[in-house]
């Protein structure tokens, strides 16, 4: 509510053309508005809105090897998917993944931000070191993780390190107990994304007024109390944003699962170990050319993401404190 009213106020203050002249200037404005907004609006309509509508119709159609709508089958695609153990498994897989990656990303990126903010000498060096993995693609990181870092043979780096402590090589990416491949999949994403969120937390930390800390120090508050009573509450909105962004991204995991566990088809290899929904949808749409079920699955996943986002947002009190 408050946001909308302030926004409306901002707009009315900022609208430069007074409407008093009416006629010519308002026609000029209308023309200019549509001229400026049309490229983006047309593009979004063709490549986002239209696909959603078309996809919705496809999801109610029997569309094997075709993207034409017509052979309507009602909710059968949805029923098929929701009773398909492979699809349900993919949802379990992504839930496990999110359960690890979301809290870990939060803790590590917040920890890094606090630690880097604390030091004076070498701060920009540390910031760069933790942030630079953000420039690396999932494909290249997967390549390093799979072929070098967690190579299951004895020349892999992790196996060399544990070998120094007398342990034999571990088959990191394979059907092992415990399932080490989760460690591989979680660490690669952690390495790639914590630097980005560290930057966001550092921006949040810098917005906390110094005076609040000074007052706490005068009151004799210890480090832990200061962190819990001052730092964390001030980072509330940032924390919520970080968790939602990592959660939404985790539900769309594809790249590292595809590249580390093997591709699709003949080279699938270890793909059966952990197949998130996007990998499942990819093979459904691209390999099986079943666009009816492929789009139905996309809508189920979208609905799930929206629900989880809303629930998590509610649980964390989204928009409660708007100071």
């Amino acid at each position: 509510m408050t946001v909308e009213t302030t926004q409306a106020k901002l707009e009315s203050e900022n609208t430069p053309t007074p409407r008093k002249r009416g006629g010519r200037s308002s026609r000029e404005a209308t023309l200019a508005f549509w001229g400026f907004v049309t490229p983006a609006l047309a593009g979004l309509t063709i490549f986002t809105l239209a696909p959603i509508v078309w996809g919705l119709l496809l999801s109610f159609s029997h569309a094997q090897n075709t993207i034409r709508i017509g052979h309507f089958v009602g909710l059968r695609n949805y029923e098929d998917l929701l009773t398909d153990p492979a699809f349900l498994n993919s949802l379990v897989t992504v839930a496990i993944f999110a359960a690890f990656i979301v809290p870990l990303t939060y803790l590590v990126s917040l920890g890094l931000a606090l630690a880097v903010e604390r030091v004076t000498a070498g701060r920009s060096f540390f910031r760069t070191v933790f942030f630079i993995p953000s420039a690396v693609s999932y494909v290249v990181a997967s390549l390093i993780w799979k072929v070098s870092l967690f190579n299951g043979l004895s020349f892999g780096f992790a196996n060399q390190v544990i070998g120094k402590f007398g342990s034999g090589p571990v088959a990191w990416i394979g059907a092992t107990h415990p399932p080490w491949y989760w460690f591989v999949l979680v660490t690669v994403r952690l390495w790639l994304q914590v630097g980005f969120f560290m930057i966001i937390f550092m921006a949040g930390l810098q917005e906390i007024p110094r005076t609040v800390y000074e007052a706490a120090a005068v009151d004799g508050a210890g480090a832990w109390t200061t962190f819990r009573r001052i730092t964390l509450p001030h980072l509330r909105n940032t924390s919520i944003a970080v968790m939602l962004l990592t959660l939404i991204a985790a539900f769309q995991a594809f790249d590292e699962f595809y590249n580390i566990l093997g591709g699709v088809g003949a080279s699938a290899g270890n793909q059966v170990l952990a197949r998130p929904p996007l990998i499942y949808l990819y093979s459904l749409a691209l390999s099986d050319q079943d666009f009816g079920r492929g789009t139905a699955g996309a809508f189920i996943l979208t609905a799930l993401i929206l629900i989880v986002t809303l629930v998590q947002g509610k649980a964390l009190g989204f928009g409660r404190s708007e100071e």
């Binding site: 209308t30 979004l44 933790f130 630079i132 390093i144």
Partner: protein, 278 residues
């Protein structure tokens, strides 16, 4: 206030950060090491820390290997990322300006429509968007990879926020000088939008260069593969030997690491724009 921080706790901070920094740099070290070694050196069970002497010929082999379309991939990725950067920034700033500053009927409806697409996660719509792009004949073409990525509701939103806070006086001065809306946008707004253009532009470039799922879906023919698709094919099909594979990966991230180090300030701004201020 915090001068009482004991020397011990300060040393501890540096120790923790130092250990973490080494851990974070290991993947880069492994990439460099392997790219400059021969295969027998890489697979040797006796670990050697440094590639001595460095095997530079790996790069030569990579670019002369007929089975490795690395040069094509680099060209494709370069064209795609630059085009995406330029046009996404142009379209987004234009729309952001109109939505923030040009009074017209239907403005709120258009804004609502654009914001509503933000609710739909992009990777999830790849199946229906693939269907539409295929229908328009975009499979195996560069434009099929590029065009759907030129329109970003999120950057439009951020540009609108930015222009809402733009001083009205500058616009009014332009109006007195006889500038219309287009003139104001081109002569006054764009030159004063350097910070946001660089911040969001460099992020658009990086994410376009690193994109994988969409180029994989659209570029099925090797002639339209991007660097990421080329590397992924090497990796999952195991068509290359290890030293060439790592040389290829190094070539694939080198342009971005350079861009990153040169533009770090803008990238930090971009991260704040897209994460913290939401």
């Amino acid at each position: 206030m915090k001068h009482h921080q004991s020397v011990v706790s300060r040393l501890l901070s540096y120790l923790v950060l130092g250990v973490l920094a080494v851990l974070f740099l290991i993947p880069f070290y492994l990439l460099l090491r392997n790219a400059l070694m021969t295969d027998p050196q890489i697979t040797s069970t006796r670990w050697s820390w440094l590639p001595i002497p460095p095997v530079w010929s790996n790069f030569h082999k990579l670019f002369t290997d007929p089975a490795a379309p690395m040069a094509t991939g680099l060209i494709n990725s370069g064209i795609i990322a630059v085009t995406t950067l330029v046009f996404q920034m142009l379209f987004s700033s234009m729309a952001g300006y109109a939505l923030a500053r040009i009074p017209a009927r239907g403005r709120n409806v258009v804004f609502g429509l654009i914001v509503s697409t933000l609710m739909i996660p992009a990777a999830v719509t790849f199946v229906p968007t693939y269907a539409v792009t295929a229908f328009l004949g975009g499979i195996n073409t560069r434009w099929g990879i590029i065009v759907p990525g030129l329109f970003s509701a999120f950057s439009i939103f951020l540009f609108r926020q930015f222009y809402l806070g733009f001083p009205v006086e500058i616009e009014e001065a332009g109006r007195l000088d006889g500038l219309g809306y287009a003139g104001i946008y081109w002569r006054l707004l764009l030159p004063n939008s350097r910070s946001i253009l660089m911040a969001l532009g460099v992020l658009a470039f990086i994410s376009s260069w690193n994109a994988f799922l969409w180029p994989l879906v659209i570029g099925q023919d090797p002639s339209s593969w991007t660097v990421q698709v080329v590397l992924s094919t090497f990796l999952t099909a195991q068509t290359l030997n290890l030293s060439e594979l790592f040389a290829a990966a190094l070539v694939g991230i080198a342009p971005l690491v350079i861009v990153f180090l040169l533009m770090q300030r803008s990238i930090v701004e971009g991260a704040k724009f897209s994460g913290g201020k939401g």
